[in-house]
């Protein structure tokens, strides 16, 4: 299944050109805006301009690299009834879908790789303050992202229609991941909310560790592991209810 995800990512490589253009443009625009916002100020909320720009470049790169397509795939397969075949396989459904997503991410990374230098050039990057911490929190964050995507997909077994929900989820998750604005700038209540939600691990936390804005790494890793365990349980529970409701369309 991983291989299928990988091959599909490559099969749709014409998309990637648009994706790369979008990514480069987004990083470029963010750089312009934030440079002008900072003006002559040396730092805000503990972030220097250089650190902020490196943060934004990374966070956007991450967000594109870890983008999950699995919800859309699942949704299409529920609607067309081909989900039948996924369910008829010996391995568990969620395992297959997770493998699909991981393969797809690898495929996406392969296609994204040539553009990375361009993005780093257009944005700006500094040497990592804590490289290993960055990688570990990012990988765990990715696991959380896949789990959340699967959880959203399962709604499709109830409603058949998850287009609007997916869109909402994408907006919310991107916003609270801090892809456009680092969470350090979120005021009061919003900051508390962002800190309580898991989306920060998809963007803000790893990138902030990279630029040295967050220095405690053990804490976030523990919380990430707790989220993974919790989401694991929630997924298992949701799936056991969803799959009792399965009706296969058409026949």
């Amino acid at each position: 299944m991983m291989r299928i995800g990988f091959r599909l990512a490559l099969a749709y490589r014409s998309n990637i050109v648009m994706t790369c253009v979008t990514l480069v443009a987004q990083v470029f625009l963010l750089r312009m805006i934030w440079t002008s916002v900072y003006g002559a100020r040396p730092a805000a909320a503990g972030l220097t301009l250089d650190a902020l720009l490196a943060y934004l470049t990374l966070a956007n790169l991450q967000s594109f690299a870890t983008h999950t397509v699995v919800s859309r795939t699942i949704h299409e397969r529920i609607r067309s009834g081909t989900v039948f075949f996924d369910l008829a396989r010996p391995p568990g459904y969620l395992r297959q879908m997770a493998a699909f997503q991981v393969g797809n991410t690898f495929g996406g990374l392969l296609l994204l790789a040539p553009v990375v230098p361009v993005v780093l050039l257009v944005g700006s990057i500094t040497a990592p303050v804590n490289g290993p911490g960055y990688v570990v929190t990012l990988v765990l964050g990715y696991v959380i992202a896949v789990q959340l995507a699967l959880l959203i997909s399962l709604i499709g077994f109830w409603t058949m229609e998850i287009g609007a929900i997916s869109l909402l989820y994408r907006l919310v998750s991107q916003f609270f991941a801090g892809t456009m604005v680092p969470l350090a700038f979120f005021p009061g209540f919003l900051g508390v909310l962002a800190g309580a939600l898991p989306f920060q691990y998809l963007g803000y936390v790893p990138a902030a560790i990279y630029v040295g804005h967050i220095t405690d790494v053990a804490g976030p890793i523990m919380v990430e592991l707790a989220w993974i365990a919790g989401l694991w349980g929630l997924l298992a529970l949701t799936w056991s209810r969803a799959h009792r409701r399965v009706v296969i369309q058409g026949g």
């Binding site: 299944m1 099969a11 039948f84």
Partner: protein, 312 residues
Amino acid sequence: MIRAEGLTKVFRRPRTFPGPLGALRTLVTRQYVEKTAVDGVSFTIDEGEVIGYLGLNGAGKSTTIKMLTGILTPTSGTVRVGGLVPWRDRSANARNVGVVFGQRSQLWWDLPLIESLRLVGSLYDVPAARFETSLKKLRDLLGLDDFLDTPVRQLSLGQRMRGDLAAAVLYEPPLLYLDEPTVGLDVLAKDAVREFIVEVNRTGRTTVILTTHDLADVEALCKRIILIDRGKVLFDGAIDALVDQPRRLVVLLEPEPEEVRGVRRDAEGRYVFDIRGDLPGMIAAISAEHTIRDLSIEEPDLESVIKGIYSR
């Protein structure tokens, strides 16, 4: 191999309401519309049999197959497939079963056929060596070589169906569910599918449940049929017994007598005699009393027999 008892599936959907606020009401309603798709179906199927599972559109055939694969849970009743309860031992049952739905494909649309076959190999833990021999055999049997590396979306329906058949038997399951595997195929492609089914059944003792609207499939492949109508079993037994009726002599007479003793008239007003023994003698006897304008001899066939059962 398969034993079903009182198998029943009732679909329950929230009632839909008309009008602009209908969708909203549908979302919160506690009223349901119920539809009994399969209604107390029982049958036993032995190893190595090829069963024609027949019925009109909407009779409940596909729903039965979905329950046999363990993907739908029946509302009531039980099934054992090779000793397993499909929806409880879903994963173990999956290894015993290959499925083809003519109306939809298990192949990945945007990838070359071989990728989907590899996926099946890995999901069913087929060891590499066995995968290669199995694939080799199927390439010969189904002529896959021409399009193994073509993306599935570029395949013709017949090629796609052959790909789907290959995917269903790649791991050599002892049981095959084929839901309309010849739908939309031309005469040659249909023959290829039939020959394949015969071959798989013969060499692997594979048990096959076949759903189709083409009775020629059934005549070519099945010794026994199960006929269902509105979810209920209408007939279950050997085809031979079903069509074991005398040939018929059908004549058009002039002038048309009101009634000929012991003879039916069909919808076109022709007279239908059962042929017993001496045919020339029969014809001579009829022409002695009437003028025969046209004459034909009809073999009893599955289609007319099945139409007869439905109209009862």
